[in-house]
């Protein structure tokens, strides 16, 4: 396969970026998208040019590092995958591919396709935990049975990898799917119920302070989420938030 790439290049968060043209050839269908980027970077290094910076680590779809906006879609054309799991068999010889970073005001560009997603960490600092000491002096793990359907739902919400595809794809740059996943996981489990009121208020407050937009229920986040986190979680977040608001008034 031969491909034309239009890649966002930006030196740092102070400089202006632009789309630049690159060409790669000898790309095979079995390559992952990031391996295609490796091929390009090897060529750039050989020509003594600056390779394209992009975040990546586990390359098996679980760490949430990779974050490319490919042809207008977070993580590219395939569904339920991250960029590192996207394979070149989804493209055709001669295609032009636009590659941009995950854009949102709270995610300043560090370089090229690398953005700063620490806003997500700060939302978690605000309340993304159960206040239990790690002493090991807790009760037996089986002391509180948890209904399977709740445990399963909590698990589904907990599979969020924090990649921020939801924010990148949302026209409002809303982080509601991300926040709702964590709030849902804990509100569905007895261990997290005690602090539920505080947690939801604090996390939503931090989300707003970071500058994420509001949710207008377009559902794009659910479509692009590589882990298939359901929009139901946003409904649950709204419920938890309202409940907490009334409780504290």
């Amino acid at each position: 396969m031969k491909l034309n790439l239009k890649i966002w290049r930006q030196e740092n968060n102070k400089s202006k970026g632009e789309l630049r043209d690159y060409e790669v050839s000898d790309i095979t269908a079995d390559m992952s998208f990031l391996e295609m980027m490796d091929v390009l970077n090897e060529e750039l290094i050989c020509r003594n040019e600056d390779p394209v910076a992009f975040d990546h680590d586990c390359r098996e779809g679980i760490c949430g590092s990779c974050s490319m906006f490919i042809n207008g879609q977070a993580h590219g054309p395939d569904r339920l995958v991250t960029t590192c799991q996207l394979h070149m068999r989804k493209f055709n010889d001669g295609d032009t591919i636009y590659i941009e970073p995950f854009r949102a005001k709270p995610f300043p560009v560090i370089k090229d396709l690398v953005v700063d997603r620490s806003a997500f960490d700060r939302i978690q600092h605000a309340g993304g935990y159960v206040s239990v000491n790690t002493s090991g002096n807790t009760q037996d793990a089986n002391a509180i049975p948890i209904e399977k359907k709740d445990a399963d739902k909590a698990f589904d919400a907990a599979t969020c990898i924090g990649c921020a595809a939801c924010v990148a794809t949302c026209k409002n740059a809303s982080a509601m799917l991300f926040v709702s996943a964590k709030v849902s996981q804990y509100s569905l489990l007895p261990q997290g119920k005690v602090e539920a009121t505080d947690r939801v208020l604090k996390m939503v407050k931090q989300m707003d302070e970071e500058g994420f937009g509001n949710c207008t229920n377009t559902g794009a986040c659910e479509v692009e989420c590589p882990k298939g986190i359901s929009l139901d979680n946003i409904a649950r977040l709204n419920r938890e938030f309202l409940k907490a608001k009334y409780k504290t008034q």
Partner: protein
């Protein structure tokens, strides 16, 4: 050997079962008021580093945590799939602390320290309690209680899991515990920072030099103790199941400053990974060992059929039952498909080398779920009072159950290989996965440098020559939550009057200078070859000559070849860009430079150990049936290497292993 010195583990005396409890009662404590005056650096935020940071901060120490990823949540523990072991005996199948201890010692082929392994087994049950209390959503049954499954090398079901994402859920648990402490100001988090040097003051570890991966700034950080939790060094092989960024740098830097490196050649080659498909490949993907609960491994019985399959003229599903060789079930009837990883990997290699491999490269075997689908399907049909003779219905019901158990793994496989594993058997082949070797630590998890500790995969301590499945998560969390927080207090109790450690000293100055010079040297090199070129070449040497089977000749060659490659690296590597700002090429070059040194020690260690044990298989030492042949008389010790200039000049120290509570015998899974 004249220069051999014996190392002491400092394990407590007395009966095995009471050691840890007695030790905890006898070691020194630091008062809450004094903990506030003490700083601890933790490098790495995986299960070990994350849990240690959270717990130390909770105890009252001032913790500084470092990770090279953009968030502590992305450490590679996140990718662990199958599960975590704990001797809870919820299934009532005869499990106990002793049995977990015994399985781990035996699984490690009798090359680990009894006292450490017993302690691990002892605290394992608490880990599950702790994680549940943190809101980790483990799999549950319909009664709402925790579910278990079975892993290789054991005869009980003691593995707790969260589908195929157990590592993710446990890491997010540790990350949440960290977040709580970050919000209280007790942990200062440094993401996108890489440790590039250890600073020793008056013989004690007192700080580190880091590079800010965003700005390129070289920074000094001081503390009263330094904890290395930076994981394993599987990326020495270039292709492995590790993340792209996983590296040996932190461990190697402390090694060069005096920490002994133990059993570097003990590497785990995991039997069930997606086979290599081409030269451009950047990493290998694991298919969880839990799949061997239900999947059966086979190759064709005849070479002709194997050839036809490779050429694509025969489909595996068309091969009759009697024409298939379920070689693990044939060779190891007692454990069957659930033999330990080293045994399963070697058996796959043996079949493929003999010409029975089933993919284009001839390096793959089948992992087949058809029987499990039928078994589960029949069970469901019976439960639901449906027709148990209706084949389509049975298959449909069975696939649903298999999907509920392994759905995400099957999906992952399909995305990579472009084949549907519900319809045709998976193809798998062994790949580098975990390193049992690592920094030598005593019973307190302290290295040979006072004040420098190593936990999790970074240390060598618990898995001997082969790690059992679902034990890495257990060890990481045991070290971080329950062991280090006690033992580090014993060391720090002598530091309560030390006061803050200044970074304005000649030791920090020198350490910083050495890092800056190294970076300058790499950047100013006018070479023509990329860093990856060298990494790939190094990986090939190690995989071909120090991989699943090793021999004297190959290892001697490997030492020379790695030496030469390292020389070439400094002459012809091209590191683009500058130090200032984000420069991944530079970060990678610094890591590969360390792998190029470790590789040499790795081969030397493998050459020195004239026996086969666990994942270390020397072709010269095998039984008639091709099983590993240990030499307990001569090699019943831990090899701990002291840095001495060139890696192959390292000085060997031995820690003698004594087995008082298990009988030292030949491992058998037949």
């Amino acid at each position: 050997m004249a220069d051999t010195k014996f190392l002491h583990s400092k394990e407590p005396t007395g009966d095995l079962a009471g050691k840890w409890e007695r030790h905890k009662n006898e070691i020194n404590l630091v008062s809450p008021a004094n903990k506030r005056l003490i700083d601890v650096i933790v490098v790495g935020t995986g299960l070990a580093g994350g849990s240690a940071s959270a717990t130390l901060a909770e105890l009252g120490y001032n913790v500084k945590s470092f990770c090279f990823q953009d968030s502590p949540r992305r450490a590679h523990s996140i990718a662990a799939q199958g599960g975590i072991n704990a001797a809870k005996n919820y299934q009532g199948d005869g499990d106990s602390t002793y049995r977990l201890f015994y399985d781990t010692i035996k699984g490690g082929d009798y090359r680990s320290r009894e006292s450490n392994v017993y302690r691990l087994a002892e605290v394992s049950a608490n880990i599950i309690d702790q994680c549940v209390a943190q809101g980790v959503p483990f799999a549950r049954d319909y009664g709402g209680l925790l579910d278990n499954r079975s892993f290789g090398g054991v005869l009980v079901s003691r593995t707790f899991y969260a589908k195929g994402q157990t590592g993710q859920q446990l890491l997010l648990g540790a990350y949440s515990a960290m977040n709580r402490q970050i919000s209280r100001g007790k942990i200062k988090m440094y993401s996108r920072h890489e440790m590039l040097e250890l600073v020793i003051v008056d013989g004690k570890a007192r700080g580190i030099i880091t590079r800010n991966l965003v700005t390129g700034k070289i920074e000094r950080h001081s503390a009263h103790a330094v904890v290395i939790a930076s994981g394993g060094y599987g990326n020495l092989f270039y292709l492995s199941t590790n993340a792209m960024g996983s590296n040996v740098t932190a461990s190697w830097k402390i090694h060069k400053k005096g920490a002994f490196f133990a059993n570097p050649c003990f590497t785990q080659i995991h039997p069930t990974c997606i086979p290599v498909s081409g030269d451009y490949q950047s990493k290998l993907t694991l298919m969880s060992e839990s799949l061997r609960n239900d999947g059966r491994i086979w190759v064709p019985k005849s070479k002709d059929d194997a050839k036809k399959i490779r050429e694509g003229s025969l489909k595996p599903t068309d091969l009759k039952e009697e024409d298939r060789d379920y070689y693990l079930e044939r060779r190891y009837p007692a454990f069957g498909n659930l033999v330990p990883r080293d045994v399963a990997s070697r058996a796959a290699k043996e079949r493929c080398d003999a010409g029975y491999g089933v993919n284009k490269t001839g390096e793959a075997v089948y992992l087949d779920f058809y029987d499990a689908v039928i078994r589960y399907g029949k069970e469901q049909a019976q439960i639901k009072n449906l027709d148990t003779e209706d084949k389509d219905l049975i298959e449909k019901l069975g696939k649903e159950i298999v999907k509920s158990k392994y759905g995400n793994l099957f999906q992952m496989y399909e995305k990579i290989v472009d084949q549907n594993p519900y319809e045709t058997p998976m193809m798998i082949y062994p790949a580098v996965h975990y390193t049992m070797g690592g920094v030598w630590v005593d019973y307190n998890l302290m290295t040979t440098i006072p004040g420098c500790f190593a936990i999790g995969e970074a240390n060598f301590s618990d898995h001997g020559a082969n790690r059992l499945g679902a034990s890495a998560l257990m060890q990481g969390l045991a070290d971080g939550y329950f062991v280090l927080p006690y033992t580090i207090g014993d060391y720090l109790s002598a530091d309560i009057r030390t006061g803050p450690i200044s970074t304005d000293t000649k030791e920090f100055e020198e350490a910083q200078k050495s890092v800056e010079e190294k970076i300058e040297k790499l950047l100013s090199n006018k070479g023509i070859k990329s860093v990856d070129y060298f990494h790939k070449k190094l990986g090939k040497i190690i995989w071909n000559k120090c991989g699943m089977a090793r021999n004297k000749k190959g290892l001697e060659e490997a030492i020379q070849e790695v030496k030469e490659l390292r020389k070439e690296f400094y002459i012809s590597v091209n590191v683009t860009g500058k130090n200032k700002g984000f420069n991944e090429t530079l970060s990678k070059a610094l890591r590969v430079a360390d792998f190029l040194e470790l590789g040499e020690l790795f081969a030397k260690d493998a050459l020195d150990r004239e026996e086969s044990c666990g994942g270390h298989f020397r072709e010269e030492h095998q039984t008639k049936e091709g099983e590993a042949l240990r030499n307990d008389e001569k090699y019943n010790f831990v090899s701990a290497w002291e840095y001495n200039g060139e890696p192959s000049e390292a000085i060997l120290h031995k820690e003698e292993l004594t087995f008082k509570n298990v009988e030292l015998k030949t491992r058998s899974y037949k």
